[in-house]
């Protein structure tokens, strides 16, 4: 029997990025005793990497903006696969969430009349992104962090203890969501099984409600803009608890990541570079994006360079340049140019601001980009073009959730918000919609988790409790890498092979044969991962941490590969060379990944079963926001007649 410390909380939030912190703030303000648990130090979450801004239709720069326009842009960007109710709530609530940040001390860049300035971004019809230079994510996380500190200060004044009602467990990892039901999950949430990275000590946070806000899965890919934390923990925790994942085939490759030097390959180059006037050129010096405007967007984008250039100053009478197409289009275009032999020396294309803006303005508008290229690549972006190429950036798929409450499907007490939740962005996310997503649905998850916890703390059935047996199982699972036999696999090697597999076989352009091959390799990696072993002891041991994260990455990678193989069309973040067109018949189809139940003992066996589900019909008043001619391009035949 494993003796572990148990603590009682009302709500446990897993992840301390934008969504997690916003959820924690809401839950605590609703009276729930809330614990936040995160793998890094408090305030280091991946949200700090977000650069461009927070999309919210405040209409500060262009008064024509409103939630309906934002909703339309979001649906178009997601190729209508979005969970429309989420897109609606998101568009409606985003402005309030941004304004709220100001009351907590955030300092956004201002318009001349003192309101929050908003900038242009790909796929957004109007300047919509509230921003602070190109470090908006940092401002967001710091503001939420400081709001948490403020709540803790209030608790200190009241109870003499900063952590009386809101505590951050930093540098701790959750390996299992604990439930009170049968052995294979599906029961009510009872808490989380965790370990402290610093000491390796296990502990259990008992709570009736758990909010997963763990972010994405990018660390399963070789070229990625994501940090080491993005190992799909929340996705895997939900699956293991019995909650399905939705549309995992949609992985966004950001068109502009650094390509050189190799050690920084994948690091993000913000879309603001293009929003502020940067242009993409191939090795012939041609602005190739004009050749890649797809039919559905033909009327919305400029046909000539002259018109595109005029748009920056006169957006009402000109159409935007095609560099500002949604990210999936731009990423594919760059990929094609490089394949056609018109790439830059290091296998990307050129992104140029140096000939478009004075140096002083570049340094003011894009300070961290200037800094990043200067420091890491020795490139002065005010004098020469950057070399950029696609990089794995975001997963649109995620845990299937209820639009209004952020509750997962089938696991009472389990909630999910932010990148880990699926549905909101459909098949492709617009830049700037992520930060607003974190705030809108982070708050909703916190709100409903607190409500659920309140009900269940006082319910006749009592607080759900995790059995000692489940805790023992979780402990044994976590300690397995220390007991590996001779010839144990090195977790770092396994991780590198996994990244190559996903990058090469389930990457930006996909083919059926390659994905089938990927599934075979993943099965092989699972077998080897079951033998992964580590050196040393439990105290701050990165090899051990990686060995534990491997389980999650393998599980999530299997979902991505399986769903990608199933969806025989190209849509948003899912591009099939063998099925190049968007197929309207696939529009109302969601692919759900469910765990194979009971979990097979053989590591080579499939862990994931795919289920097709039909999407909810879009509400008529929302459909009415679009022109008939546009809907015809997206909706399936039968939907048009409904």
């Amino acid at each position: 029997m494993t003796q572990v410390e148990r603590q009682q909380w009302d709500v446990v939030v897993v992840g301390a990025g934008g969504a997690g912190l916003r959820a924690a703030i809401e839950a605590r303000e609703r009276g729930a005793r809330t614990a936040v648990i995160c793998k890094s130090l408090f305030g280091k979450a991946h949200t700090v990497m977000a650069e461009g801004g927070i999309a919210a239709s405040m209409g500060n720069v262009n008064e024509g903006d409103n939630w309906q326009v934002h909703f339309r842009d979001t649906m178009r960007g997601g190729k209508f696969l979005n969970q429309w109710r989420m897109a609606e709530l998101h568009a409606k609530e985003a402005p309030d969430r941004v304004w709220e940040l100001e009351t907590w001390g955030a300092l956004f860049d201002r318009t001349p009349d003192g309101r929050i300035s908003q900038r242009n971004f790909g796929g957004h019809e109007y300047p919509r992104l509230a921003h602070v230079g190109d470090r908006t994510g940092l401002e967001l996380i710091r503001t939420l962090q400081q709001k948490i500190v403020q709540l803790q200060q209030a608790d200190f004044d009241e109870f003499g203890d900063y952590e009386a009602r809101l505590k951050v467990f930093q540098e701790c990892t959750v390996t299992r969501v604990l439930q009170d039901g049968g052995p294979a999950g599906g029961g009510r949430v009872a808490g989380t099984f965790c370990y402290e990275r610093e000491s390796g000590r296990f502990f259990v946070l008992e709570a009736p409600a758990v909010v997963l806000a763990t972010g994405g899965i990018g660390k399963s890919f070789k070229t990625t803009s994501n940090s080491w934390e993005y190992t799909g923990d929340g996705h895997a925790l939900a699956l293991l608890a019995g909650a399905p994942l939705l549309n995992m085939e949609f992985v966004q490759f950001h068109p502009t990541g650094m390509v050189w030097p190799p050690s920084v390959k994948g690091i993000l180059v913000t879309e603001s570079v293009r929003g502020d006037g940067g242009v993409l050129r191939n090795s012939d010096g041609k602005r190739f994006m004009f050749d890649y405007v797809p039919d559905v967007f033909k009327e919305k984008y400029a046909e000539s360079e002259a018109e595109g250039d005029r748009w920056y100053d006169d957006p009402d009478h000109n159409r935007r340049p095609p560099e500002l197409l949604p990210r999936d289009e731009v990423a594919r275009a760059i990929n094609s140019e490089v394949k056609a032999g018109r790439g830059s020396p290091h296998g990307g294309v050129f992104l140029d601001v140096s000939t478009r803006m004075p140096a002083e303005r570049i340094r003011r508008r894009l300070p961290s980009m200037y800094h990043q290229f200067k420091e890491l690549a020795d490139v002065d972006i005010t004098a020469e073009p950057m070399e950029v190429g696609p990089t794995c950036h975001y997963v649109m798929g995620g845990i299937a959730v209820d639009s209004d409450t952020a509750a997962t499907v089938g696991v009472p007490g389990l909630f999910a918000a932010g990148e880990v939740a699926g549905g909101m962005h459909g098949s492709n996310r617009l830049g700037g919609n992520s930060l607003s997503d974190l705030l809108v649905f982070g708050r909703r998850a916190g709100l409903h988790a607190a409500g659920y916890a309140r009900e269940h703390a006082s319910s006749p059935a009592g607080r759900p409790a995790a059995s000692q047996a489940r805790i023992d199982e979780a402990a044994a699972e976590a300690l397995a890498p220390f007991h590996a036999a001779e010839g144990a696999e090195n977790p770092y090697t396994l991780h590198q092979e996994l990244q190559s597999t996903m990058n090469d076989l389930v990457g930006i352009i996909r083919r059926a044969g390659e994905m089938a091959q990927a599934l075979e390799r993943l099965a092989d990696l699972r077998v080897r991962a079951s033998r992964a072993g580590v050196e040393g002891h439990r105290q701050f041991n990165p090899g051990w941490h990686l060995a534990l994260d491997l389980r999650n990455m393998l599980l999530v990678s299997e979902c991505v590969a399986r769903a990608a193989l199933e969806r025989t069309e190209s849509r948003g973040g899912h591009t099939r060379e063998d099925c190049p067109g968007m197929d309207r018949a696939w529009r109302p189809v969601n692919l759900l990944c469910r765990p194979v139940d009971p979990a097979p003992a053989d590591p080579a066996a499939d862990r994931i079963a795919l289920v097709r589900a039909r999407t909810d019909p879009i509400r008529p008043d929302l459909l009415a926001l679009f022109e008939k001619e546009e809907l015809v391009k997206y909706l399936a035949e039968e939907e048009l007649y409904e």
Binding site: L41, V48, M49, L107, P112, P261, L376, Y492
Partner: protein, 258 residues
């Protein structure tokens, strides 16, 4: 692509003790020190503890000391060293060590809690905040801080004098006080909180002797000393050492903040 073998000395150990260990490791074009530490983990020292996250100089996790200077490992390029040079990497030396390159930075989180938060102005609804760009720029500079705590590490007030830790917030959190004091809508004064005075009386501003190491190590290039600490000292002078103000306070005719 050029590749060579570099010599590294990396401190390994924990609170009980430790030593600098020698490693020889491959280095490729364009790499940074953190890449080398990762290569060591993957090939020679699987359990070498290091804290890192974004690897792009944005999160401030991988703070350590390289050749005795506080640096972000991910922003220290190998090309800044000669290929024959031995590179020494140690944990931050102002904080308690946990293991290898990882230190206990809880001092900083404790100090963060001691700075009273932003006080929203009364009667201004969310969405009705109006601030001019020129008024927010000073505080925005300080909000570029990525909380890598290199300034806290290098500051001799606590680095060399453990006993000062309770009394001294350190450059990062004095800068936070300055940030709030310069925030155009912070209503602390109206709520009876004098941030300038608090900086001196509660956060140990007087211990700072403006020797500028915090500014020297800041990876974000924030002018901590010139733009935050010295202005705070001047603000403290306004409150505490200006005879006219003192007289005004005695007579009770002093108006609110400008």
């Amino acid at each position: 692509m050029t590749t060579y073998d570099a010599r590294f000395r990396i401190w390994r150990g924990d609170a009980e003790g430790g030593e600098l260990r020698d490693f020889t490791v491959e280095v490729n074009d364009g790499e940074v020190v953190l890449d080398i530490v990762h290569r060591l983990q993957a090939t020679q020292a699987q359990d070498l503890a290091v804290r890192w996250n974004c690897k792009a100089g944005k999160c401030g996790s991988c703070s350590a000391e390289v050749n005795g200077r506080p640096r972000l490992l991910c922003m220290t390029r190998m090309s800044t060293f000669g290929s024959g040079e031995t590179i020494t990497v140690t944990p931050l030396r102002a904080f308690p060590v946990i293991r290898d390159l990882v230190t206990d930075v809880s001092f900083n989180y404790a100090k963060a809690r001691e700075v009273p938060a932003f006080v929203p102005p009364e009667g201004v609804a969310p969405g009705a905040y109006r601030m001019r760009q020129v008024d927010v720029e000073r505080s925005q500079e300080f909000r570029k801080c990525i909380e890598c705590f290199l300034c806290q590490d290098t500051c001799h007030v606590v680095r060399d004098h453990e006993e000062n830790k309770p009394a001294f917030a350190g450059p990062r959190f004095l800068m936070r006080v300055a940030e709030l004091d310069m925030h155009p809508l912070d209503a602390a004064a109206e709520a009876g909180l004098d941030r300038g005075r608090a900086a001196q009386e509660e956060h140990g501003l007087g211990l700072c002797n403006i020797t500028k190491c915090c500014t020297e190590v800041c990876p974000e290039g924030i002018k901590i000393t010139d733009n935050a600490l010295i202005p705070l000292k001047e603000r403290a002078v306004d409150r505490k050492y200006d005879p006219l103000v003192w007289l005004g306070n005695k007579i009770g005719r002093r108006s609110g903040t400008p």
